[in-house]
């Protein structure tokens, strides 16, 4: 059995740790233009971009010998819940035969996750599966923390490019190593390197929140490395939709016998008074409100073209901008998105925020620390 899984930002590192601990053979889908194009060509025209990209991942991984797909699932209004059925249907009609193992994301008790992963583990004990899941969770938490630190340092560094150099080194060496211990060690050493970067003590960078659909927010390939680019423009980026926040919400918080509510989700109900509109729609609205209350300079919403919940969220932004005075830029991404046009909009937005800050010097400024 050879397992494959879709790409989503740094998720592949955590899944690698999971499968290494379980000692299962796997194929990491290649990052290539051909794989993307295969996905786009075989998907419905108006499917959202994450669907097309994950299909591309599967096609190229299956061509490299994978026969089992590890994927998530769910139910409700958002299309993500129905991805795996359509993926299976499309792959089958293309002549590929792959088995899907879907970990349902909406109610994940540890026991259910272990049950789902049993066929992967081929007779290994539940204890080993639990250990591998814990390792994967710890990896993703550590990776997102490292990325957050990089965002914090990048906009304050004294010599431009020092953070990028450290992170580039990190990304090229992480592909070569295996196992939880090695990954944890690399993360630790990279963290120390980041902390030793010399900072510019007097700068007070603009602070921008990234909100929106989780795949486009977390995958640097799709959002054209928006965190890095904004950081190099001297902007402190706070990505509100990270995989670790998702894991905490859907996995860790569910372990408690009482309900712990997601703050952003609850805040979003101020504008859309219902329990759920699918996907991360309410969280996007809530995160905008919370960012405004935390005196952020602006927010950038990123979502794939035709994403249903985010269109609703976008409709409320006019009202939020008026009520809370936070400027919001919406970036819609699809396979046709060109780099130049995209960056022009981001640069113009940052220029506008800088100017706004100059005109309102009374607004509380973020200090360097």
């Amino acid at each position: 059995m050879k397992v494959t899984f879709p790409h989503m930002g740094s998720l592949y590192i955590a899944i690698k740790v999971l499968l290494d601990t379980l000692n299962v053979e796997y194929v990491v889908p290649p990052f290539s233009i051909n794989s993307l194009e295969a996905g786009i060509m075989n998907s419905p025209e108006f499917a959202c971009l994450p669907f097309k990209l994950t299909l591309g991942n599967f096609i190229s991984a299956i061509e490299q010998g994978a026969d089992t797909v590890l994927f998530g699932g769910g139910c409700g209004q958002c299309r993500f819940g129905y991805y795996s059925d359509l993926h299976e249907e499309i792959l089958r009609s293309m002549g590929y035969n792959a088995r899907f193992i879907c970990v349902n994301s909406s109610n994940m008790t540890p026991r259910e996750v272990i049950q789902k992963l049993k066929p992967l583990a081929e007779g290994r004990k539940s204890r080993v599966i639990l250990k591998s899941v814990l390792h994967a969770v710890r990896t993703i938490l550590a990776l997102d923390r490292l990325n957050g630190l990089a965002c914090h340092i990048r906009c304050r560094e004294a010599a431009r490019g020092s953070t990028d150099k450290v992170m580039k080194e990190f990304h090229s060496s992480i592909e070569r190593i295996k196992g939880f211990k090695a990954v944890a060690e690399l993360v630790r050493s990279t963290r120390n390197k980041l902390r030793s970067i010399e900072l510019n003590k007097v700068c007070s960078p603009l602070k921008i929140a990234i909100v929106g659909e989780i795949y486009t927010c977390t995958d640097p390939y799709i959002n054209q490395e928006i965190e890095r680019r904004l950081g190099n423009m001297g902007v402190d980026v706070d990505n509100k939709q990270t995989i670790s926040r998702w894991v905490v919400d859907h996995g860790i918080k569910k372990l408690f016998p009482f309900e712990i509510k997601n703050k952003a989700h609850e805040a979003g109900k101020k504008y859309i008074n219902t329990d759920d509109i699918g996907g991360h729609g309410l969280q996007t609205i809530g995160n905008c409100i919370l960012s405004a209350k935390a005196k952020y300079d602006g927010a950038i919403q990123i979502y794939p073209f035709t994403c249903m919940p985010e269109i609703i969220a976008q409709n409320t932004f006019g009202e939020i901008q008026k009520d809370y005075g936070i400027p919001v830029l919406t970036l819609i991404i699809d396979e046709m998105t060109g780099e130049a046009g995209y960056m022009t909009r981001v640069e113009a937005f940052v220029d506008m925020l800088e100017r706004k800050r100059k005109l309102n010097p009374l607004k509380k400024q973020h200090m360097a620390y």
Binding site: P44, F46, G81, E89, I272, G278, I311, N315, G318
Partner: protein, 308 residues
């Protein structure tokens, strides 16, 4: 008593009987907006963000046209109409989005409809509505139940009426038209497709021509599973119609960039050829669609169907 405006869009095509009766029983005067026309479409397009889909834009146009004619406009929140069947996110947030896009210049009445959770939310929203209209809550509940019974006995509104009318002849050559009810029954949005088909002596079938259990049995691969309501209707109808001998082809009308339809049509296209050789065409419509281009495609499809 106040005047209630019912926009003739989205939910109206399936639930007109229910809501018209409900408000009349409560003693209100009911005004229904006129059929969709260019003015309604244009005002809807200017009110919404450009990413919003065509039917929701049209809905906004209808609400706008009712603004000066009614005291309240009724915009329900449909989250789920049957157990394990969901509507699209745009329905779940319809009241708030309408209010924001119309710059809060209208007074809305709303009811939460969610068959997938307890009836608590529905009761709360009904109680609020009763308070707004200065009516007794128990009275409102009773009238709602009456209206609901009437709705259940009466094939679902316009969709049901047209559906049962069309499925009369069993042998005459027919075409099945699939899509959301607000796409296929709105004469302006569908560019008079139904009339055009009938003028060519073709009978027309809709998802509402079939009965519920038949549709759900054939809704591959979602029999008995959670999915969108409209998705189940169309999936099940497509695979049912594929086996009908007198149906020559299936036309699927979809608004530009519809999330639900993008998955449903793909599932139909990939699977229908294993069941039969039924010709299938997907026609996409948005506010820029020209009637000439649309007609050409329909004619080409009918010519092809006639030859097979």
């Amino acid at each position: 008593m106040p005047t209630i405006g019912l926009p003739k869009a989205l939910f109206y095509y399936q639930h007109s009987v229910l809501w018209e009766n409900f408000f009349q029983n409560l003693g209100c005067r009911v005004v229904v907006s006129s059929d969709t026309n260019k003015q309604i479409l244009d005002s809807g397009v200017t009110l919404c963000s450009s990413e919003t889909c065509l039917p929701v834009k049209v809905f906004h146009g209808h609400v706008h046209s009712l603004m000066n004619r009614a005291d309240y406009i009724f915009v329900p929140r449909y989250t789920s109409v049957r157990k394990d069947e969901f509507t699209c996110p745009k329905f779940c947030a319809l009241p708030e989005v309408t209010l924001i896009n119309l710059k809060k210049q209208v007074k809305l009445l709303t009811i939460d409809i969610n068959a997938n959770s307890s009836q608590k939310n529905m009761c709360i929203s009904l109680r609020e509505m009763a308070r707004e209209l200065k009516l007794n809550f128990e009275f409102a509940v009773k009238e709602f139940k009456d209206a609901f019974d009437k709705h259940a006995n009466h094939a679902d509104g316009i969709a049901g009426r047209l559906g049962s009318y069309s499925a009369s002849g069993e042998r005459e050559p027919s075409i099945a038209v699939l899509g959301h009810p607000y796409m296929i029954f709105d004469e302006y949005i569908n560019m008079k497709l139904i009339k055009k088909l009938r003028s060519r002596k073709l009978a027309v079938y809709f998802p509402s021509s079939l009965n519920y259990s038949q549709i759900r049995e054939n809704a591959f691969p979602y029999q008995g599973r959670v999915f969108w309501e409209a998705g189940l209707d169309n999936l099940g109808s497509a695979f049912t119609f594929a086996r009908y001998k007198n149906i020559r082809g299936i036309i699927y009308l979809t608004p530009f960039a519809c999330g639900v339809d993008s998955f449903v049509t793909e599932l139909i296209e990939r699977r229908i050829r294993h069941i039969s050789s039924m010709p299938f065409i997907k026609l996409t419509i948005d506010e820029h669609s020209g009637e000439a281009g649309f007609d050409t495609r329909v004619e080409a499809f009918l010519d092809m169907v006639g030859r097979t």
